[in-house]
């Protein structure tokens, strides 16, 4: 499948850096990707356990998100993908989070890379479509391709929890970032799998799940005192 950049001539590597930047202003900083609950439960207590957590999230939620984003960036109907994302997100708390983050990416992307496809999706899903779907459409609007969109989601699956864990546990930021660096080859493989699935068709999109993330997300959403929204 051709890169969207073939058509619009934008969307080089620098554009990908803008979209993938952890400081992209789309609300991600208030979310921990489930690591706050894992820290409270004692399952993540340092860099070693953080690496295991990130690996698990990357191979499950990360893979699913990357494939949905790749499909959206390749031009698959975002409403169909939104329904498929719902089916892959059993936790109501995580569905709400995904739609909220999707709405926030939409708000940012419509200013940064305005375009008719973003406007249409925003009109059809004013309360937000799932985050990876919106991210894929935003990538398209930026002239990026399916692989680029998959990279954003796969990278975020690990980068979100790492940033949050630095704040929650006071980890050495160098060691925490080394966790991400060591995961890089695995992120590459997840992206390759995600893009291959997206090319095959929507029936081939992965549905890997992480039941513990689903369960703890529900509990976390009910905590009265917490640092992160999810």
């Amino acid at each position: 499948m051709g890169r969207a950049s073939d058509q619009c001539g934008a969307g080089g590597r620098a554009t990908l850096l803008v979209l993938a930047d952890g400081r992209f202003p789309a609300g991600g900083h208030a979310h921990s990707g489930g690591v706050e609950a894992a820290v409270r439960a004692g399952r993540v207590d340092g860099v070693a356990t953080l690496a295991l957590f990130c690996r698990g999230r990357l191979q499950t939620a990360g893979l699913v998100a990357a494939a949905l984003a790749a499909a959206a960036a390749a031009g698959t109907d975002p409403l169909e993908l939104d329904a498929l994302a719902d089916a892959r997100t059993p936790s109501p708390a995580l569905r709400a989070t995904a739609r909220r983050l999707g709405r926030q990416v939409m708000r940012a992307a419509r200013v940064i890379w305005p375009g008719g496809e973003l406007d249409r999706l925003a009109a059809l899903r004013p309360r937000g479509a799932h985050h990876p779907v919106v991210l894929g459409v935003a990538a398209r609007s930026a002239g990026l391709g399916d692989e680029d969109a998959a990279y954003c989601c796969a990278y975020e699956a690990a980068q979100g929890p790492v940033t949050a864990a630095v704040r929650l546990l006071g980890l050495d930021p160098f060691e925490a970032t080394a966790v991400l660096a060591r995961l890089a080859p695995e992120i590459d493989r997840v992206v390759a799998d995600a893009v291959r699935a997206a090319h095959t068709g929507t029936e081939a999109l992965p549905a890997a799940s992480a039941p513990l993330l689903d369960i703890t997300a529900e509990a976390h959403a009910a905590w009265p005192v917490r640092l992160f929204t999810s």
Binding site: R23, G28, A30, S32, Q104, R167, V225, T229
Partner: protein, 228 residues
Amino acid sequence: MHLGHPHMPTEAGGDAPARTVRPEGTRRALRIGLGGPVGSGKTATVAALCRALRARLSLAVVTNDIYTREDAEFLLREAVLPPERIKAVETGACPHTAIRDDISANLEAVEDLEDAVGPLDLILVESGGDNLTATFSRGLVDAQIFVIDVAGGDDIPRKGGPGVTNADLLVINKTDLAPYVGSDLDRMARDARERRGTLPSVMTSLKEADGVAPVARWVTDQLAAWVA
């Protein structure tokens, strides 16, 4: 009650918050941010402003708590506004990020309030207590109030920083405590004038009846300019 009425779209120029008109063509609410150090009296100011203005204006409040919903719950408990007019935003351990670098969640709260209980005249956005460098993005608020208090040390105006120096209004609160903490109010006023040039500062004691009056007057003036 609502002061606004449908009117022709007008775009503000420069870097001012450009979208002053809601999609359906009505003027959006004026948004005023309240920032300042922990415990200086931001929530108390918001509560007092709501009591002073709610009979005349259609109001809503967004709170940014650091890790609880205490501020929103305080406002609910005090019943300064009906619950549907108060919304809490969670800031992921970084209160200044949510009002300055990544305003997504706050913009969403503002939009949701206008959708749910609008049309609104005024939305007050309270920042989570932070340090002297925290200021609001112009993409989120039209004007900002920085609240400090006399008990935090009478050298704070002299120290300056973006909040003290550039906020559209500086509030020096808890003047009732000055004798007990040995703060020199004249010096605070003098230092504030020196730092702020022509920008206004007011002193308040929210423990006194109608202690918020100088802030309420300033807010009313801002609103008059907004709807003019």
